[in-house]
Symmetry: C2
Subunit: 633 residues, 2 copies
């Protein structure tokens, strides 16, 4: 479809997933990286005209000559890694060897220097943790290392006075996956920290410690004409400073956090020139404040999930952006998704089973519904190397987390085995994927969120990722409302149960109702008696369906409660069920879930068939035992 | 992860999508097809040890020597097309040149001969249209063509007496995409039909005409141990006997059709040996009877949609099956999906714009949310050649069909231009994707099903793919129920409105309620007065959420209706709203849709914010104009 050829600096896993997207649109790609079997090159056969070799370039993406060689073969240049030779990219652009470089070489250079990146963003009013330059503004090969490192140590002490301890000391360049960071806990550590980061020979800066509640990432695609589209904000969970899991969409009680995260990310990306996808990593502080941590000028690990979970993947959108095609939709196409990285657990040359141990989560994932395994085709296994990832999709957060937990447990177990050097059990290999895992997987397939119901203790408390909330004004309503909980348990619906009183805890009611959609709830069951304001007042403060259960009081037989609940004014509906009939409220909630998830619809039909069979059994008994069987028993 | 290498006979688009799946699991694939840039070979770089060429095999998949050459390089053999040399596959299996061939060569041979396939299936009790052998059982190179064709003509006449006219005359072998079929309309056409199908030199058979209502396909994956898993049944729409579009899931009022289609497909596939994916094509006859048309022993065009729309694609499941890995989930991960084929509109050498015209739907699809374009990298464009396909996913059938219509219109327009030889307008090219299409696309993104609301005439009738049904016992309830329709129109919800009376049309009510989920409805709004049985009786016969609107009668102020609707017995819930308040019923239905589709949740929140603003406006007016402004106006 597109006649222009794209050149990519780097042919690792990001390049590989980019090539997948390009192939689907018949876009020719030429790659620059060392070797002819780098991950991206494996899935892109590009014979040269003589048929004696490849059109890809074998070499380093920092080598000026190799960059020029790649540029001579393509129309547009892009990157899969920012640690490239930005100066040479500028040079080939200036010489018009290519039509465009995306992102702009100046943007790449800016982002390579994390201190310059901070200055750029803070000057444009974007929120960042406080930071300060450490030592001289510029450190070059000709700088006196001893003088420089002394100056840096003095700066660290000043930063400590300004920010307090601990503080983060960071290398300005070549920092990723936690490399290039040092936590300085006291003034005495200044020299050690500077030395550890190669201070004296490298520029450093210090950052105020950010005691964040969670880490958030937003992928943003920017067209050459400046249109920006954000993907949904996601939660990223790191282990040892490397991305471990990603969860989409972000669930935070304050719905404003998700919206603000996307806005900030879009604003930040709008400040850069050129086109393409950018990954914006943020800290969410207590109270909901968001601080930008750093920005990657390319598709990002936190956006892998978009391949299976959004309408257009980050890789295809990067391609579209740099080629001036229309940007694709960034909307989620599934209700919930997660991603888990597969890192090398050991070096192949030291542990014969290194590969098998590393791939244990992948093997186990084959039995997990909704899981898609991506292996990167990397030749050797090394500890910490990104070997693949697994994306998991599902109908709810609860279902996705249950599915993820199977893979995560396999990962933990394999990690332990790699440490002890013990042999991998068969059930963690492809040849013997655990029957246990398969059983859990198939129960999850049928059920949704069986996890919570397994032990009495868990099932009697609220589920951490509930789909339905049961609330009532007082624990005196519990006898009426508990049948609802029993029904939800029977159907394996993840739910929470708590007390929210319209009249005694109006603020709590407001918070509960307003946070419900952002927390992933899909329906609320509210029981109330007498004046019975709770269902209607909750419905007035959430866009979710609210089911009202009129609780029978000591007078008026519950008719007062019923009328208070059902006779809502035009504009705000409450779904009322019969007086004291919380069973039906729960069944209605499940029917509502069935609108989103056909498995609930099937289970409801099975429940109805069962009721029919039960009555048919009684009819038969009447015929066999006579009409007085009820009296006799 | 998997050490064994897979060889594939054929490297077209099916092989290409298979290679995509294999790469993600680090499975090595070697391909046999003509040329070194066949679609699948383009995305699979397999250098030979000398570095001077490729490990793929250049040749025909019917050439015995080439098949042996491929077999010598791999552990497992499979196919992407059934017109291969099955005898040679049996030979390499017998000689143990490979560990396995999937599907079994005997299965491939059986399926190659469509008459033998019919005999095999009918002997095993599977439902087929009546068929009859035509002429001699076996036609070989040494048969006397004149004698054979005379015998065939006589058989056609006999088939005509048995089946009536029209009847289908079919070639036993090498038949696909409508090639090898001839519709015989009268006894006089017998000789013409036999000649047209190469009778005399080829085996033929006749089939009773099947005046089907729709065509259905089910992909089934079969493991080597005989486990079978069916994908959801889909509707396939053909144009000129070639697959035009596919719609998933199947929507038929009788939910039993979908279940039976899957059961029949699984039974059919279970009769074959070996592992892999099979495509089962069926006719649905009036009354719901299903007849198997034919079976493909490989991933199939009607399963392309699985890449974007199900938890495991047909390609990955084919790979898993033939390698003995656990089978993946075949469940849909999105509510609705469609696929449209991109066929060559003209030959490149005759029409300079053949490629651009052919790819016009692909260009336009870039502006359609939920669309993913797959181009196959085929070198030349020829009329009728499969050049690519587009998959479209969405939150509802209505949304998917609206999105599909944009692409389909571009296809129709480009087809017309290819016929007349006229030039392609810029808006149908990549460089100028129609602003109009973009506008429709963005409205659909925001709205869901805007299509219905565009003209007065369409909006005043039921939507063909409704999400909500509004029903009432009589048109006398219309004044009370119309506000519900107005609200659904305002929110762009596709809905239907009709009369269903519990007491006067009990059979219609039963059919309506039972067919509702299979037709894609997600909620039903039922209005009723007095005894008001409709909502409860509908709820008793469907697993969907039913919202009851108590209609005020001439006595009792509607309290009779309210109590009849709300006081449902345990087990069957009805969501009751206030008396005569169909507005709230519709708003509740939209909140229920919001449980599945966050865009409705957002729109509901915006509606609530608007109501708040309206009241705030009145408060301001009170302050500015005094308390008597209402009386004054």
């Amino acid at each position: 479809m597109e006649q222009r050829t794209v050149g990519v600096l780097g042919a690792g896993q990001l390049g590989r997933m980019f090539v997948e997207a390009a192939s689907r649109l018949n876009v020719q790609v030429r790659l620059l990286d060392v070797g002819d079997t780098a991950p991206a090159k494996q899935i892109n056969y590009a014979p040269n005209a003589e048929g004696s070799g490849s059109e890809h370039v074998d070499g380093s993406f920092v080598d000026p000559q190799k960059i020029r060689q790649l540029a001579s073969k393509v129309d547009i240049l892009t990157i899969e890694i920012e640690h490239v030779n930005a100066q040479q990219l500028q040079q080939v652009l200036d010489e018009k060897l290519v039509d465009a470089v995306h992102p702009l070489p100046s943007t790449i250079a800016l982002i390579q220097d994390k201190y310059a990146q901070k200055v750029h963003l803070s000057e444009r009013g974007l929120p960042l943790a406080d930071y300060i330059a450490v030592g001289p503004e510029e450190v070059t090969a000709s700088s006196d290392a001893a003088v420089t490192s002394k100056a840096q140590e003095r700066s660290v002490a000043e930063a400590g006075s300004a920010f307090g301890y601990p503080l983060m000391l960071k290398s300005r360049t070549q920092a990723y996956d936690g490399k290039g960071n040092f936590v300085v806990k006291s003034p005495e550590q200044a020299a050690e920290a500077v030395a550890a980061l190669g201070g004296g020979k490298r520029g450093l800066y210090a950052e105020k410690w950010a005691p964040f509640e969670r880490e958030i990432a937003v992928m943003v695609v920017r067209s050459a004409t400046g249109e920006v589209r954000a993907y949904p904000a996601v939660e990223t969970v790191h282990r040892d400073s490397i991305c471990h899991t990603v969860h989409a969409p972000l669930r935070v009680p304050d719905a404003g956090v998700e919206r603000r995260a996307r806005e900030i990310a879009q604003q930040a990306v709008a400040t850069f020139g050129g086109a393409g996808v950018f990954g914006v990593e943020m800290f969410q502080m207590p109270g909901g404040q968001l601080l930008i941590n750093e920005i990657a000028p390319r598709p990002h690990n936190s956006g892998h999930y978009t391949i299976e979970a959004t309408e257009t993947s980050q890789y295809e959108n990067h391609l579209r952006a740099i080629l001036g095609m229309p940007l694709g939709s960034t909307a989620l196409k599934v209700p919930s998704a997660a991603m888990i990285n597969i890192l090398g657990l050991a070096d192949s040359d030291k542990d014969a089973e290194a590969v098998a141990k590393t791939l244990a989560p992948a093997a186990v994932s084959l039995d997990v519904p909704g899981a898609t395994c991506h292996l990167y085709g990397k030749a050797g296994c090394r500890k910490g190397r990104k070997m693949g990832h697994i994306t998991i999709v599902g109908q709810s957060d609860a279902q996705v987390r249950e599915r993820l937990a199977i893979v995560d447990r396999a990962l933990d177990e394999a990690t332990e085995l790699a440490k002890t050097g013990a042999k991998l059990p068969k059930r963690l290999t492809l040849a013997g994927v655990s029957d246990e895992a398969a059983a859990v997987a198939s129960s999850s397939k049928a059920g949704g969120a069986a996890g919570a119901a397994k032990t009495k203790s868990a099932a009697d408390f609220s589920h951490p990722q509930p789909l339905v909330g049961i609330i009532m004004g007082s624990d005196s309503d519990l006898p009426v409302m508990l049948p609802a909980a029993e029904i939800l348990k029977k159907f394996n619906v993840p739910f929470e149960l708590t007390i929210v009183s319209a009249h005694r805890t109006p603020d709590r009611m407001r918070t509960y109702a307003r946070s419900a959609p952002a927390r992933g709830l899909r329906a609320i069951i509210a029981g109330a008696g007498g004046a019975a304001h709770l269902p209607g007042m909750v419905a007035a403060q959430t866009a979710l369906p609210v089911i009202g259960v009129p609780v029978k009081g000591s007078v008026l037989d519950g008719v007062d409660s019923l009328h208070s609940i059902v006779q809502m004014p035009r504009g705000i509906p409450v779904a009322s069920v019969a007086i004291n009939n919380s069973t039906n409220a729960a069944l209605l909630a499940i029917r509502i879930l069935g609108a989103a998830d056909p498995s609930y619809l099937e289970k409801m039909q099975a429940y109805m068939d069962e009721m029919e069979d039960e009555v048919n059994g009684k009819i038969q008994r009447l015929g066999e035992q006579g009409w007085d069987y009820v009296v006799k028993k």
